[in-house]
């Protein structure tokens, strides 16, 4: 079950920045970018550092126990996780971490629960996909062309 395993940011294809009021993620393989609102930011920050979805959902559920039904929060977070996975923003992590071990977190949950929203944009995808930077591997050289591609 996906909530049992841990994840990390699908870098270097995916880059992100926390701007304080939102996190913006960019998938350089698709040219799509995303904005996360506060609950989504909290979820992303911890999920991308290897905290399991199950522990995160339990923590967020506890934080809002008097505001929303636990099952609704769990469902919202499950939806968020599915979105991150289907958009290839995360991948399974080999280094799971406990929530308590994340000491550099900068996002805080808002006082009132609002179901997290991922806003998705593809208005500059064509342009971003044409930029050479998206093909560059970590060593600064593009990935090899597929074997069946014309090499002429």
């Amino acid at each position: 079950m996906s909530s049992e395993i841990s994840f990390e940011c699908n870098s270097p294809d995916v880059v992100f920045e926390n701007f304080g009021d939102e996190v913006i993620l960019l998938n350089l393989q698709t040219g799509r970018y995303y904005s996360l609102d506060p609950v989504g930011m909290f979820y992303w920050e911890h999920l991308s550092q290897g905290v399991s979805p199950r522990e995160l959902a339990a923590h967020i559920g506890r934080a809002y126990s008097d505001q929303a039904g636990g099952s609704s929060i769990a469902g919202d977070l499950d939806g968020l996780l599915n979105e991150f996975r289907s958009e290839q923003l995360i991948r399974p992590s080999k280094t799971p971490r406990a929530l308590a071990d994340v000491t550099n977190a900068t996002t805080k949950l808002p006082a009132e629960y609002v179901p997290p929203v991922v806003s998705k944009f593809d208005d500059v995808a064509e342009m971003l996909l044409l930029d050479p930077v998206h093909d560059v591997g970590e060593l600064g050289w593009p990935r090899p062309a597929p074997l069946d591609q014309d090499q002429g």
């Binding site: 270097p12 880059v15 992100f16 920045e17 701007f19 939102e22 913006i24 960019l26 350089l28 970018y33 904005s35 929203v117 991922v118 806003s119 998705k120 944009f121 208005d123 500059v124 064509e126 342009m127 971003l128 044409l130 930029d131 050479p132 930077v133 093909d135 560059v136 600064g140 050289w141 593009p142 990935r143 090899p144 062309a145 591609q149 014309d150 090499q151 002429g152």
Partner: protein, 234 residues
């Protein structure tokens, strides 16, 4: 009147082909500026042979944004076309794109389709290592742009403090509601060669993208109050 602006840095190998592709247009431009951004190779000599047909300007290495801005400032054309020094235009690039602007006076920017090619002098090994989709595709690249000067007057000059200067400018143009069209014909050939990819500061460029996208979303959110919001899908 059409002015062409070609920024170049250490482009001795390809700049002559780029210039030829501009001079061979079925609708020739009225002036061509090559802005040499501090080349250390034989770029100046490669350009000298074109004499008065090309205006050459040398600047210390200030980046492509500054080079393009110089050309925009110094040129006289009411239409501005750009070409990166390693790319090539096909002969009808200016003719077809100017026709699109003539047809629609409200249009600000015209792009076209582009096809990519592996630079022919590369070794088989180098070619095999380069991803190169040769299928013609719509391309919002600056090598594919014909713009009214008024578009630059509205949006402003290119940024000189970033590497992705045109992406930033394009986002601004889009957010300001400039009207764009893409001519559905391949009119530009984009050369793929290892130097396309030798961005030593690619991490910085990726970070630049995120800051540009954030600025663009914020601009669009301001407009949300007047009914034009970001087109995100929740």
């Amino acid at each position: 009147m059409i002015s062409v602006i070609i920024p170049v840095f250490d482009g001795e190998r390809y700049i002559a082909q780029a210039i030829e592709s501009v001079l061979d247009q079925t609708l020739p431009p009225d002036e061509v500026f090559v802005v040499d951004d501090g080349s250390q190779d034989g770029t100046r000599e490669a350009i000298a042979r074109y004499g008065s047909r090309v205006h050459y300007h040398h600047q210390s290495n200030l980046g492509s944004g500054a080079a393009r801005n110089w050309g925009i400032r110094e040129s006289k054309g009411d239409l501005l076309a750009f070409l990166d020094a390693d790319d090539l235009w096909l002969p009808r690039r200016l003719e077809l794109q100017k026709a699109a602007l003539d047809e629609d006076p409200g249009l600000d920017l015209v792009f076209c389709h582009m096809s990519q090619f592996r630079s022919p002098e590369l070794s088989p090994d180098e070619k095999a290592n380069l991803l190169c989709d040769e299928t013609p595709q719509p391309a919002p690249l600056i090598s594919c742009l014909l713009a009214r000067r008024s578009a630059f007057e509205r949006v402003g000059p290119l940024r000189t403090d970033v590497k992705a200067d045109f992406i930033d400018w394009y986002l601004n143009a889009q957010d300001m509601g400039l009207r764009m069209r893409t001519v559905d014909v391949p009119l530009v050939r984009r050369r793929i060669h290892p130097r396309n990819f030798s961005l030593t500061s690619k991490t910085d460029v990726r970070r630049e993208y995120l800051f540009m996208l954030k600025a663009s979303l914020d601009r669009r959110r301001v407009k949300t109050n007047s009914g034009i919001g970001p087109r995100g899908q929740a």
